[in-house]
Structures are given as structure tokens and as C-alpha cells.
Subunit: 189 residues, 2 copies
Amino acid sequence: MSDGTLLVFSGPAGAGKDSVLIEYLKKKVPGVWKSVSYTTRAPRDGEVDGVDYKFVSVDEFEKLIEQNFFLEYARYGVNYYGTPKSYVDEHLKNGDIVILKIEVQGAEQIKQIYPHSIGAFIVPPSLEILEKRLRERGTETDEDILRRLNIAQDELAYSPNYDYHIINDRLEDAVDDLTAVIRALQLKK
Amino acid sequence: MSDGTLLVFSGPAGAGKDSVLIEYLKKKVPGVWKSVSYTTRAPRDGEVDGVDYKFVSVDEFEKLIEQNFFLEYARYGVNYYGTPKSYVDEHLKNGDIVILKIEVQGAEQIKQIYPHSIGAFIVPPSLEILEKRLRERGTETDEDILRRLNIAQDELAYSPNYDYHIINDRLEDAVDDLTAVIRALQLKK
């Protein structure tokens, strides 16, 4: 394989995107690279700048937009999220599987730029369980949680755009699912 | 998912199709069913009638051809191989992943009948290793081995028709590859 594959990884907040990715990345599978997004949101407990996200101010982010630094960016709630373009292209040229964790709006933009990209959508077993997880996270107010649940419902409507659906019931199973999807992509001719 | 997926599994003799499948099937993954082919060739040591193949005479096989019993059949060397249709359709209707282990000619027929079928091709690391494996099998004469190597070379030319390429270098890795491909297919929307 000369060219790599772009794997767009999305799912509603609280579905467990981050946990699944973190566990997957611990395996350090050769030929797989996760893009680090830029964001203006505040780091959560334990998040490391440059690893989980590159945390920047709104001013910095808007300057980067002007410089055409981003492959795609989205304003999600009050925060910006964006994907730097040069690293992605470099790793694709290298034949890697490039994982982009992005929101559903960003995913639509990506599909236009990279029509051969593959989408994996992670879903919570139910909206009730999603709410429970958001509350347990303990980082958000009731109002935040309600807003996120509404957004989540809207986001779930995008699931038919994705090639693979991973139900995050047990974290371990969801990680195995993602592992299988990526390994299969590496075997694609 | 309402309808299942047909997975066509091919590869030159000696590439390890059977070993990989046997190891995979030991996992007894729910929702996966392997079709049992009919053949007129003699059983090899340890092969069980009705499990590895259904072993029939040439007369019986030709009668089944007349009865339209087969989804596809091929004459490969001096032997017939065929896939019974009714079981395959039943399991597809049931939403299963249906594995068909068939030769490359049969695979072409299948693709015409089931355009959405997925192909996995298992390849030996090299033709030299393939020859070594055929000799170690010890069931074939020198002439047989030469004929098989020629056929293998012809068969390798069909590999671009397949969606996934599994290199059988270490059996364990090849089994993990097949496992990943099938798990990913089960996550396909």
C-alpha cells in the first residue's frame, strides 16, 4: 500500500470516544498515527497538552484559521476544535492509518476533502446511559449536561454517514472493535 | 443489520487457507457460519465428512449439478468442488457472516451472484515457502507439487479481485488478521 487511510472517529460526547482511543493507543500498533487536534476548551483533569489536545487560546486559534493551518475546524458549543493539515498529509503519504477524532460537522468536511476516508462512529448503548456517564464525569453543570444530551441526539442522526458502528457497552469490547477495524483496514489492498 | 455478509475466502493451495480457517472456527464467534463445500477429491488425513467437506463421488456430484443444487461449482484439476446454495442463503437471511472457502474461479462466479460479497485472499510469504509447505504436507507426488505451484502462480494473479490480503507468515498472525476482518465486517452498518 503506497497511500495511507484516514480513519474518522466520531461519536457523541460521553459515548466514550476518548477512553476507547486512549486504551487503543496504548497498544502502540505499528503504522497507526493519531492526529492531535487543536482546541480552545480548557484541559480536563489528566489531559496533557500536545498529547490529548494542543490547547490554545481563541486568539491563537483564530490566527491559525487565517493562516490556513487547519484541514477542518468547527465551533462546537463555545469552543473551537481543529485538525492541523500538514501532519495528516505527511502520515498518509507514509502509508499510515491516520486517526482523526472529530465532531460530526468536521467529519462531513473531511469526507469532502478525502473521499476515500473511512468513518467509525462510537455510540452509547442508550441515551440514558449517556446521561449517566456525563453526570459521573462530574466536570459539567446540569445545564451543560442537558445541552450535551440535546447535541448528542442531533449527532446520533449522523451515524448513517459512518462505515463502522461501535457500541460502547463494555470499554474492553469497544477497544477490541476499534482494534479489529484498524487491523482490517491495514489488510485492505 | 438485516442481511448478512458473504465472505469469500481464497488463496493458493499450500498458503494455509485450511489451517487459518480451522483455528479461526475454534473461536466459535457468534454470528459467523462457514459453508461446507462438496468435493469429489479424497479426504486427507484427519478430515471429517460433513465438517471439512462433504465428500461425494463424481456421479453424485454431477447429479447435484443437474438438480441446480450448487451456488457455484468448479472443476479444479481432476476434482469437483461446489457450494450448496440453500444453506448459504438461509444464513445470510439470518444476518450471519457466511464464510465461503472457494477457489478463485468459483469466487468470480460468486461475485456475480452476490455483488456485495467481500473477498479475503490468503497468500504465502513467497512461492519458495509455498513449495516447501506443499512438500512437507507429504500427500502429493513431485508431479502434483509442480502442477500445484503452476496453478498457485496463476491463482496469485487473481489477488487484486479481493478486498483483504492476508499474508500467512505466522499462522497465529494470519488467524488474528482473519478475526479482525470478520469482526470489522460485523461492525459494518
